[in-house]
């Protein structure tokens, strides 16, 4: 194993549904992909091309039918549910198109949620960590506001802070700006870039917005369940 393994490695990953039935369908074909530490990669492709399925497999929310998936050098196919859950909790952060914040909790409490899952009872260290993360996404003055009293852009920034709570190596962002206006989308994207540059966190961003995709280090295009192109952007140069 290399000294610094890639944060993510997919090797011949396939995904089928309705296995063994006449209507078996393969939605991902022989996917191979590597993401290095500190990369900011855009995953693009038309609707129904398999982007979300691929993201679910990478996020360990779903299992591939064939192929191997490595997270920080750790092969995941033989891990049981408990180990998968533990790995997901520690190594991967999620940001979805909808923020999915718990509306009855404040921004600070929402950011603390992954820490509470790990430690059960809140402590001062957790408060400080959540406070720092909200500061990083520019929401210090909003930390005691209830999630449903914030704007869409602010809620998505809280969701980014929450995704970073466990200091994951990889953040999977599934169209995080899809529900936002251009200005808010730009702000959220810049926040993610800022975190990527400051913390060295690897981001895989699913987006339909080509302007944002071009601002990433690399664009991976999926069409009909296959990676058809992987190209660096000008931002890399």
């Amino acid at each position: 194993m290399a000294e610094n393994p890639p944060v993510l490695r997919l090797d011949g990953v396939c995904k089928s549904y309705n296995i063994g039935t006449p209507v078996e369908i393969e939605v991902l074909h022989d996917i191979a992909l590597e993401l290095q530490r500190g990369e900011f990669v855009a995953l693009i492709g038309p609707s129904g091309s398999g982007k979300s399925t691929l993201l679910n497999i990478i996020g360990l929310l779903d299992r591939p039918t064939r192929g191997r998936l490595f997270i920080e050098g750790r092969e995941t196919s033989k891990l049981n549910d408990a180990a998968i859950t533990e790995l997901r909790g520690h190594s991967i952060g999620f940001v979805f198109q909808y923020h999915y914040l718990i509306s009855a909790f404040t921004a600070l409490e929402n950011v603390m949620m992954p820490l509470l899952v790990e430690h059960a009872f809140p402590n001062e260290e957790m408060h400080q960590r959540a406070h720092d993360l909200l500061a990083q996404v520019g929401l210090t003055q909003w930390e005691n506001n209830l999630a449903n009293n914030m704007s869409g852009g602010q809620q998505q920034r809280v969701a980014i802070a929450r995704a970073l709570a466990m200091n994951p190596a990889l953040v999977l962002a599934d169209e995080p700006t899809g529900n936002l206006d251009t200005k808010s989308a730009n702000t959220v994207f810049e926040m993610m870039q800022h975190v990527n540059q400051t913390n060295g966190t690897t981001f895989l961003l699913v987006t339909h917005n080509m302007d944002l995709a071009r601002r990433c280090h690399r664009i991976v295009e999926v069409v009909d369940g296959r990676i058809v192109t992987t190209r660096p952007t000008r931002a890399t140069a």
């Binding site: 929310l61 779903d62 997901r88 909790g89 999620f94 999915y100 718990i102 992954p114 899952v117």
Partner: protein, 389 residues
């Protein structure tokens, strides 16, 4: 709001169970007390006399094949003193009281009434039948020439304390006794017929000097009386009847009451369980996205399961606390409000702490059990499906 409603539903269910249970427990205890303070738990009586067919000694041929059941004479229990000593040693028996029961006529002037004369040793007999508690005039003194009679007999014969009445036994013996006490057993027939005299007096009147016709027993566990009676019968060879056997209808009523109480508990418990389960299932459906996100954040299936089981247990626990307090208060209020015509209480109220503790624990367990299905459903939610909705 949903939580408040289900907690209230649990509370109402528990309140109904506490109210019903406390009421039935008190009623039942009162009935049993009334029955068992006027009769022994077990009574030993001599076996019936049986006629056997007459046979020719040499050939064993039956000479008189028609056998008529013999009339049952008043007989003493064989070796009753030995049996008394033997039973006094038994750990399952509290009191042993030999008695002599005789049919007699109470005569005063032109008036006479048929009575049952019970000869007793008051020191032990009053531990079984609390005659002193029922004395309304005079005192429970039973010396050789004393007699205690019921209110109805006193009225019928026109006698009062200190008056003398002539007692004529069926055997032909008679004796003049002085009324030292008048009692009210709460039953007109018993007040007409039952009288108490000294054991020695009854023995003399029945021409069975030194004999007894029954041995009365009490036991610590009244519900074990039948089993103990059978053991006594096996050990002594004397017929032993428990209060359960001689009060079959009463005991059946008590059992029916217990069964109906249990059924009420079961059905109320089931309705509480289904209420909690339905609320939690709705909660799982409403929160499926949150559950999905929590799973994505690293929450294990076990943690999700525990959260919902805990929620079910807490709903049951909280509801039962409120319900137990409400049910207890309601039964105390009802007991205070419902009085007899003379203003006295209907019956003594029994509120055992174990009833409340058991109900709270039971409701918590029902809550956890009811949460099992929704909790499993929540734990098994596929995070991808949950997040996509």
């Amino acid at each position: 709001m949903q939580t408040i409603f289900i907690v209230m539903a649990v509370a109402i269910g528990v309140a109904v169970i506490v109210f019903m249970s406390a009421l039935l427990l008190s009623l039942q205890a009162n009935f049993i007390k009334r029955v068992l303070t006027s009769q022994p738990h077990i009574q030993l009586i001599p076996p019936d006399e049986v006629a056997r067919p007459l046979r020719e000694p040499a050939s064993d041929r039956v000479l008189a094949p028609i056998v008529q059941r013999p009339a049952q004479r008043i007989r003493s229990i064989d070796q009753w003193q030995k049996i008394k000593s033997q039973l006094s040693e038994w750990p399952d028996i509290v009191t042993v009281s030999p008695t002599m029961t005789v049919s007699a006529l109470a005569v005063r002037g032109d008036a006479n009434r048929s009575i049952t004369l019970i000869g007793i040793d008051p020191e032990v007999y009053f531990k079984i039948v609390r005659v002193p508690d029922y004395i309304i005039a005079g005192q429970p003194r039973v010396l050789t020439d004393d007699i205690l009679i019921g209110t109805e007999l006193a009225k019928d014969l026109g006698v009062t304390l200190g008056d003398k009445i002539n007692i004529q036994a069926a055997t032909g013996s008679s004796r003049v006794l002085t009324i030292t006490g008048i009692f009210d057993l709460g039953n007109k027939s018993a007040n007409q017929r039952t009288t108490y005299v000294a054991l020695r007096t009854a023995q003399a009147l029945s021409n069975l000097v030194g004999g007894v016709t029954t041995i009365d027993l009490t036991v610590p566990d009244v519900y074990a009386a039948e089993e103990i009676a059978q053991a006594v019968q096996a050990a002594t060879g004397v017929e032993a009847d428990s209060w359960i056997k001689t009060n079959v209808q009463f005991f059946t009523a008590v059992n029916a009451q217990q069964i109906s109480n249990t059924l009420i508990r079961v059905f109320v418990g089931l309705s509480v369980a289904f209420g909690i389960a339905s609320v939690l299932i709705v909660s799982v459906i409403q929160r499926s996205k949150d559950i999905g996100i929590l799973r994505a954040m690293g929450t294990s299936q076990g943690q999700i399961l525990r959260v919902f089981l805990l929620q079910g247990g807490l709903l049951g626990f909280l509801g039962s606390l409120i319900g137990a307090a409400a049910g207890g208060s309601a039964v105390v209020f009802w007991h205070g409000y419902m009085r007899q015509a003379d203003g006295s209480e209907l019956f003594p109220l029994i509120l055992e702490p174990s009833l409340f503790i058991n109900m709270v624990l039971l409701a918590a367990v029902i809550g956890v059990a009811a949460a099992a299905v929704p909790a499993l459903r929540a734990a098994k939610l596929d995070p991808v499906v949950a997040i996509r909705g």
